[in-house]
Symmetry: C2
Subunit: 257 residues, 2 copies
DNA sequence: CAATGTATTGTACTGCGTAAGAAGCATGAC
DNA sequence: GTCATGCTTCTTACGCAGTACAATACATTG
């Protein structure tokens, strides 16, 4: 946490980087694409906290400041990374036929985004700025909107439906990834952790009574062994959302969980 | 971005801080509560990036290291802050009668959480860790689950429904706050920004064609003057979600937008 | 009033993004 | 082949973060 001097970032420069990347190879072999790829690989393996300019430069075998002419700064690099991975979201899947059921299409979108977040966990950590869509993000948006086109929704409703779907996915992904990270770092299993924490928590909470919360937490613990089940919540929420969408467009979808 | 040495943090200590805060006032007048309050005030006004231990200590008129005996470290302070504001979410609202319509109750929850995020924008920036619920969070959870109790949902479904609702809210809040921040920082209005960016973007995108995306973006721009409308998406998504919930529990709710 | 233990402070370490200027290297002109 | 030109790359240094560690100031007890 707590960022250091990060210049505002020039939008025009960013657009250039996104849409017209320099292909010319200079004497070190650096290009925005090469740097972005190295940065993505690093972030995939070690998380954004490990993604420092120094480290990326080190991985590429050049000095820290050598990167700055190609990427404008750290925040621009993050945008380049986001756009690059966005271009891959639907690259390795065969989309269901456009004529197919809309529920299938939506589930395909949700699943692809889920897989995307799981493959690149750092994508849930980046706070979106003023959106400057690059080719990857634009293509992804186009693909997703197309799946919602022709259902009888207005343009605005299409966008809002998509936002809701992607929001459910990214929320669940964020929580799942957060849990996974903590498990890796703490070297304690969930059971061990609860055993160490449970007693003192029970003692501390003595007196306060949360009847419904206690009942629900107990049920959750029995069913999933965890205090929280983000992926389950996501699939359930998506089902409800699609039911609501079915009602809205009069297509009478059935809830499938 | 990029955090520095942040110890893992002792869960047991955190539980103690959350549930049995030291009331004893030492010679400087410091207590966890006082520090937490100061930190919240600072974060509310200047954002989490401004929330440094040094700064909080300065605001309280003590040296940096004086805080460490009371809060265990920065991450524990964040947890204390989150729990403290969670306790306030429903403090200043009169909840609708339990006997009332469930849609009203859910809308009340969503609205309270929306207001909460708007009052404390930093709440959308904090990555959740392994959940160690304090009294504030627990009380909030209890209140929210109670609003969903008795609708015929299973315990797990209640939790998942709540997760979906709160997810929609926090996503929309995150985007809204992000946009607001950028507007404040860039000192350019949205119109000015688009005027500066639009032309080069248009030129860059020449050749690529995104028919649906272009149409939808145009509609969005006309309707809201913006490329994105998080709050609208949130209200629309919530409506759909509640419609789906209505279908599920057979209560036949009507979509109200 | 002295002794003791804790609350507080000062100093220092490491690591970050990046500004500024020095140095290195490829390229074209003669 | 030699050399000036101009971009590329590297070195150095600044400011600021969290917090470890040791020294100091203070309140309390006898």
């Amino acid at each position: 946490m707590a960022k250091r001097a990060e210049r505002p970032g020039d939008p025009a420069k960013l657009i250039g980087l996104l849409w017209r990347p320099t292909e010319a190879v200079s004497r070190s072999g650096l290009t925005p694409k090469v740097i972005t790829r190295a940065a993505i690989a690093l972030a995939d393996q070690e998380g954004i906290d490990a993604l420092t300019i120094r480290r990326v430069a080190g991985d590429l075998g050049v000095s820290t400041m050598a990167l700055y002419p190609y990427i404008a700064g750290r925040s621009e690099l993050l945008e380049l990374m986001l756009d690059a991975v966005a271009a891959e979201v639907y690259a390795h899947t065969t989309p269901p036929a456009q004529a197919g059921q809309w529920r299938t299409r939506i589930e395909h979108i949700a699943q692809a985004n889920w897989d995307h977040h799981m493959a690149h966990p750092w994508t849930v950590d980046i706070a979106a700025g003023r959106p400057v869509p690059g080719p990857g993000v634009s293509g992804k948006y186009e693909t997703e909107l197309s799946a919602l086109d022709g259902l009888g929704l207005s343009d605005i409703e299409m966008d809002q439906t998509l936002t809701a779907i992607l929001g459910l996915v990214s929320n669940a992904a964020r929580e799942t990834i957060s849990l996974r990270r903590i498990r890796q770092e703490s070297s304690l299993t969930d059971t061990q952790w609860w055993e160490s924490v449970g007693p003192s928590l029970g003692k501390a909470m003595a007196g306060a009574s949360y009847p419904v919360a206690r009942r629900v937490a107990a049920s959750l613990g029995e069913a999933t062994g965890l205090a929280t089940d983000p992926e389950g919540a996501f699939r359930f929420g998506l089902g409800m959302l699609m039911d609501g969408l079915g009602t809205l467009i009069g297509a009478r979808g059935r809830h499938t969980l």
